[in-house]
Symmetry: C2
Subunit: 562 residues, 2 copies
């Protein structure tokens, strides 16, 4: 008789583990237990299904050639037994049996296992907000939720949707809702959306969202959902006023679904997931956990985290599937990566943010630059605003953030790989990345950012972030804001209170720059400001900072000449 492998969870990590185990062990008896009917669907595609970009629901549940991944498919192609519409109710570890119950009939049975894989995924967080159970206050987790959302949008010809929660799903859904022609308001309790980004970067994303017509209400708490006499949502009452809307999405976050594991006495990690070692073994060596329900370790600093991502779930599923049939594959941990399309902007990050590093007590130095993703002469080039974060003590790259209409994700992925290789920013600066004008500048924005950060670490460059500068301005601090662009650029748009000395005139006019007070220089991207700071340094000004990222990365108020 073959090895008995039971997999609990049939969405991402579970089917992957089962399929991998099957490929390695043709004689194993493999069973997947899944509480819902639909298996192995593309959960990450739900917002695109709602927006209509993905026309056919079937595309999310079929293979690329259109074969439905249903129990028959698993039986015929994979020789894997599917128990769907079946809940795993308990794990009897001494007996090595899982008790399962049919959702439809209530019948129970016990499934003996030699190895068990728990892939129970994540569930949506439910905030204690009055009215959250009104009709038209929806969550988005399962394919059926997406069907319902589409239905509500169509039925109510919904002029406004309120999205509660400015995280990944909230923002992806903001775009989906706009694509459907409705207005959208994002309500976020924290001071900024996307808390995995530092405030300087988030401000840029918030500005972009507002530019494309999304209302972004940050620092705003939902007090209650108010309904009509039919129990349908009418308005969302917040700490900053009411928003009338016939439809609201609750997406304040997810948490690992670990009830079964807890009940079975398995160890839970500090981030709330099932504790696993590098082989994805739980505290019971015959039980593995993979996907959203399993605790993650970020390889950058070894911190525990919760990171519900289809990419990680698939990789972990493969590792668990290898190991249940006797291999010893390892998963070295996550990069803490986030990738997000925000309308026509690309937003990505990985590793630690400056704010996270501060919470961990890790001294860091960061640098933000902006540059086109391709040469300025190549048509279609678009700006990228990139921030790199290095550990001060050893110059190791420990974080990256990138936003903008340009190609961001290539740079994020290179940085992830560099962090996995424990590279310093000096190493990153010398990476011989591929180059041709259709793909990058000769000095790619990532290389440029790494070099700027090296300059900063070497004491050659003093930078100030847009949020720091704005705080200084709002505090009424006295300093010279030196615009070194051309007069045309200056007149077309500038930070209020700027003094213009074009770079070409600066060597001659350096005496106009005070040496006894703070000076912050800027230009379009701050490349000329960097040149300016070196020119002034050469003439005895040791007080010149540059605005990191320049005017392109300035998210606050501007003025222009009449």
């Amino acid at each position: 008789m073959g090895k008995r492998i039971v997999v609990i969870g049939g969405v991402a990590a579970g089917p992957k583990a089962a399929a991998r185990a099957r490929r390695l062990d043709p004689s194993a008896e493999i069973t997947i237990v899944e509480k819902d009917e639909i298996l192995s669907y593309a959960g990450c595609g739900l917002p695109y299904y709602i927006s209509g970009m993905v026309h056919d629901r079937k595309e999310l549940i079929a293979t690329p050639v259109g074969v439905l991944r249903d129990p028959q498919f698993f039986a015929k192609v994979k020789d894997i037994k599917i128990l769907n519409k079946t809940v795993a109710t308990s794990v009897d570890r001494p007996a090595k049996e899982v008790e399962v119950q049919s959702v439809e009939t209530g019948e129970t049975q016990r499934l003996p296992y030699d190895k068990l894989v728990i892939a129970t995924g994540a569930e949506t967080l439910e905030p204690p907000i009055p009215g959250k159970d009104l009709k038209n206050v929806v969550r988005l987790k399962r394919l059926e939720d997406a069907d319902r959302f589409r239905e509500y949008m169509r039925d109510s010809s919904c002029p406004q949707v309120v999205i509660v929660g400015g995280g990944l799903i909230g923002i992806e859904m903001a775009e989906a809702v706009r694509e459907c022609g409705s207005g959208v308001t994002i309500v976020e309790m924290l001071p900024h959306i996307l808390p995995m980004l530092d405030a300087d970067m988030t401000c840029l994303v918030e500005k972009h969202l507002r530019q494309v017509g999304v209302t972004v209400a940050t620092g705003t708490r939902v007090e209650r959902f108010e309904g009509d006499e039919h129990g349908r949502l009418q308005s969302v009452v917040t700490s900053k006023g009411s928003f009338v809307a016939p439809l609201a999405l609750l997406s304040i976050g997810l948490r690992p679904n670990v009830e079964l594991a807890k009940k079975a006495g398995l160890l839970i990690g500090p981030a709330g997931g099932i504790a696993v070692n590098q082989y994805l073994q739980t505290s019971d060596p015959d039980i593995y956990a993979a996907g959203d329900c399993a605790e993650k370790s970020c390889f950058v600093r070894g911190t525990s985290c919760f990171l519900p991502l289809g990419s990680v779930a698939n990789k972990e599923g493969r590792v668990a599937g290898s190991n249940v049939v006797g291999r010893a594959d390892r998963f070295p941990g996550v990069a803490g990566a986030t990738a997000l399309k925000v309308f026509d902007w690309n937003v990505g990050r990985a590793g630690l943010s400056v704010e996270q590093a501060a919470m961990l007590g890790v001294p860091v130095v960061s640098m933000t630059v902006s540059a086109p993703d391709k040469p300025h002469y190549y048509p279609g080039n678009q700006p990228v605003i990139l921030k790199l974060i290095a550990e001060k003590a050893n110059r190791r790259l420990i974080g990256i953030q990138g936003v903008g209409p340009g190609e961001v994700m290539k740079r994020i992925d290179v940085a992830i790989t560099a962090m996995a290789g424990r590279m310093t920013v000096d190493d990153v600066a010398q990476l011989d990345l591929s180059y041709a004008p259709p793909y990058s500048e000769a000095m790619d924005v990532l290389i440029h950012c790494a070099n700027s950060l090296r300059n900063k670490l070497d004491g050659l460059l003093m930078g100030v972030s847009c949020t720091e500068l704005q705080a200084s301005r709002q505090a009424g601090e006295q300093f010279m804001l030196l615009d070194v662009r051309t007069p045309d650029e200056h007149h077309a748009g500038r930070i209020p209170g700027s003094t213009l000395i074009p770079l070409g005139a600066l060597r001659a006019r350096a005496s106009e720059v005070p040496q006894d007070k703070r000076v912050v220089a800027y230009c379009k991207t701050s490349l000329r400001a960097w040149e300016a700071s070196r020119i002034l340094e050469g003439q005895g000004h040791h007080n010149v900072e540059i605005l990191e990222g320049g005017f392109v990365a300035w998210p606050f108020e501007t003025e222009q000449s009449a």
Copy 2:
């Protein structure tokens, strides 16, 4: 008095070195000597200028905000003295002086230096072909060459252009010429264009070029250029016939321009460049070399190479510029990367090819896969065909090649970074790359390729490349070519001689597959073929190979049902 720094060469590495030195040392006296008039121009942009994608010549010689990088710009902004239209004729190392001569007046002068940077670039190779000096047989190196090419194209309303040489410039120019509406023939002496790619990948690029209407004549030697009575080109006579064309581009390659360095007695490396150490110091510690003229070392295996790239030149220029003013920056070597847009395909590679590894005697295992760059349900997804090459002994990644309409370069850059970090394919397979449907599949094509290569290294998968399979077919070898796709896919297009057993039926029909002869399974991408090989393996067939990359990556003849 400040340190005297002389830089010979004003295109890429030279100006970068000078600018970096200036930023670090405000008191240095810095001079750039350049034989041409135009400085610091975007040489890589020439094909796009010829095609008309870059409308304005000025964009190639100006800063992103339109300031011309002329001698006045260098003087005012950079405080760098420019001697353009001036040739450096010799270096007197004992006296530490460079002798230079004005191209216009013939006047000479001697420039004393404390540190010298040689950045003399590369020059085009001139083949000994009769008639190569005819009018309308052009090279493409300088901006003036591009001007001339544009003029010829316009004047002759050129129906056909022959491009001699199927390297990077040849292929970029093929696209530029087609954009202008002319026909184009690429004549390449070697069996394939783009010799930095393995034959299986090149065949795909050649197929794509033919599909977009380019004539690709490989294994074809140019015998002579024939002109009319005005000395204008009429036809290009090759070993495989004549091509009538009023315009031909000679682009058989470049070589480092090392005449001056040689004359000065500096050491030359095995690849023909000026020998340098990691600090880019030549055999004379007061003389640095940077850019195309300097020998490169590929960090993957330490091999010497010649690699004329703007990206490398800029990085090297920065290192040389830092070091001439007393720093100790290092350049760790190149990745041997090539990036190339071939009409609507993206082509990239880095590290060693299988063919290069064989020449070096390094045993390797390679794997080719094809997959969409984004999920199949996400609109606009496009295939990528990716090949990874690992050292057999230690599983280290030592090469990557990628082609296709999908996003290739991100995967190339990740692999470059992984190679710089000396990662194994196991490390690469576990990289937690950024993920969201607009950017990649949950299992990115690179991760998928790395996993497939691991399967191969682990003896779980036997693969055959398209070129190997084609050679077997042409040799009349007997084997079963097993198509495991759906009947619809099979009828729409298949490799001639295929037997259809859809994957879903294979477990039941495994006995139809012979155990005593070679079996090669394929599907669209070979993911189902991999599944098939494991199913058959489980039923005692140990003879099943899969066609790497599948039907998507099959560049040879196909047939379809009537």
